[in-house]
Symmetry: C2
Subunit: 211 residues, 2 copies
C-alpha cells in the first residue's frame, strides 16, 4: 500500500492532486443539470456532486465551485428557482462530457453537444429528452462553505419522470436498468452490474439477498 | 414514462417514498466510516452520502440524519476530531451492509460484522484492514441544515492509503481496479465496468478516449 500524508499532498502538482482527491473517495452520481435564464436561454451542465439529503421533504444537495464553468447554471437557478436532473446513459455519455466545456455564456449546450430539450408539465427548466430518469427541482437554500468558497445548493424534488418499468413494488428505482452510468474522478465513465439487493440490516441476523 | 408530482409524493407510503427518493438521483459512493470514542471503543458505520467538496484543501462532505443509527459515529468524530473512510469490496459487502444494523451503543461493528481494525501512522481512528483504499480525515466544520435537521460534516484529508498499482501517472486512482463497489438506493450493490476516460472538454472539439 502506498501512503500519502497531508504534507505530501501539499507538495503534489495541482492537476495530480485534483485527480487524486476527486477519485479516491468513491464512485459518484452523474447528472446533466438543465436550467433556463430569465430571457429564455437554456443551459445544460454535467455534475457529479449531487447527494441525497432527505426523503421527507425530498431534498438533494449539489456543490458549486467558486470558479467553475457552471456559473450560468448557478445564476439561472437563482433567477428562476428551478432546475432539472437527467441521468447519463452510455449512448450519449460523450455528449454529456462535452457539456463541461466552457462555452460562451448564453450559448446552449443542448445545441452544441447534440442533446434535445424536453419540457414536462409546467416546468420552465428544460429536461434532457435522451435521459430515462428525470427530476425537476425547486431551489430551497444556498449554504455557503467558508472553508473553500464553494456553495451547496439545496433543492426540493417537484417532479419525477422515469421509464414505466423501472420502479419496483417497494419504490426502488432500478437506475441500472435505466442505463444510468456512474463516474469516478473527473473523467472516468463506468457502467454497472448489479450484485444484489440486501434485506434491512438487523443486529441479530445476517442480511438476505432480496433481489 | 411515469410521472410523479410533488403532491403525489406526499401521498406515498413512507417506506416507498424513502426507496424512491434514495434511488432516483443516481449511483452513490459507498464507504465504511471508522471512528473511536474517547474511551477507546471503535465503531464502524456504512455511509453512502459522502461527496467531494474541494481538492485544495482536500475536503469531503458527509450527511448525518437527525435520527440515524450513525449517532455514535457523529459523537466519536466530535470527541476525537478524526474519522476514516474505507472502500467496500465485493468479498465483504454483506459484512459492510450489516454495519448498518442498530447495535447497542459501544458494541463494536468490527467484531459483530467480521471486519478487522487497522491502525495507520499516528491516526487514532481505525481503518478497515480488508479495504484497498483508505482515507484518514480530520473534522473541520459541521453545517446544520435547518430545512430537515440533517447536519453536513466537512473533513480534511490527512492520509491516503491505496494499493500501489492503483494510482495512474496523472493522479487518478482506479477505484474499480481496487474492487470498489457502488450502491443505489438503500440496499442495492453494484460492481462497475469501465467504459473509458475522456479528455478534458473544450468547446472546439469533441472529447477523445484517453484510457
Amino acid at each position: 500500500m502506498k501512503r500519502i500524508t497531508r504534507e505530501e499532498l501539499n507538495e503534489l502538482d495541482q492537476r495530480y492532486r485534483t485527480h487524486l482527491i476527486n477519485s479516491v473517495s468513491g464512485f459518484k452520481n452523474l447528472n446533466l443539470v438543465g436550467t433556463i435564464s430569465e430571457n429564455q436561454k437554456p443551459n445544460l451542465a454535467l455534475f457529479n456532486s449531487i447527494f441525497h439529503l432527505g426523503a421527507n421533504p425530498p431534498l438533494l444537495g449539489m456543490v458549486f465551485r467558486p470558479d467553475g464553468p457552471e456559473h450560468d447554471t448557478f445564476n439561472n437557478i437563482i433567477q428562476t428557482g428551478q432546475y432539472t436532473l437527467n441521468n447519463v446513459r452510455e449512448n450519449f455519455y460523450k455528449q454529456a462530457h462535452q457539456c463541461s466545456a466552457r462555452y460562451r455564456s448564453g450559448e446552449s449546450e443542448f445545441l452544441a453537444c447534440g442533446l434535445d430539450e424536453e419540457y414536462l408539465n409546467a416546468f420552465r427548466a428544460p429536461f434532457v429528452k435522451q435521459s430515462s430518469i428525470k427530476i425537476g427541482l425547486e431551489l430551497r437554500e444556498v449554504l455557503p462553505v467558508s472553508l473553500n468558497g464553494t456553495r451547496i445548493m439545496i433543492g426540493e424534488i417537484q417532479l419525477i419522470s422515469v421509464g414505466e418499468g423501472l420502479i419496483s413494488d417497494d419504490g426502488y428505482v432500478s437506475i441500472e436498468q435505466g442505463g444510468t452510468l456512474t463516474c469516478s474522478g473527473l473523467d472516468s465513465y463506468h457502467r454497472t452490474e448489479k450484485i444484489s439487493r440486501l434485506s434491512y440490516a438487523k443486529p441479530d441476523r445476517f442480511p438476505d439477498v432480496i433481489g
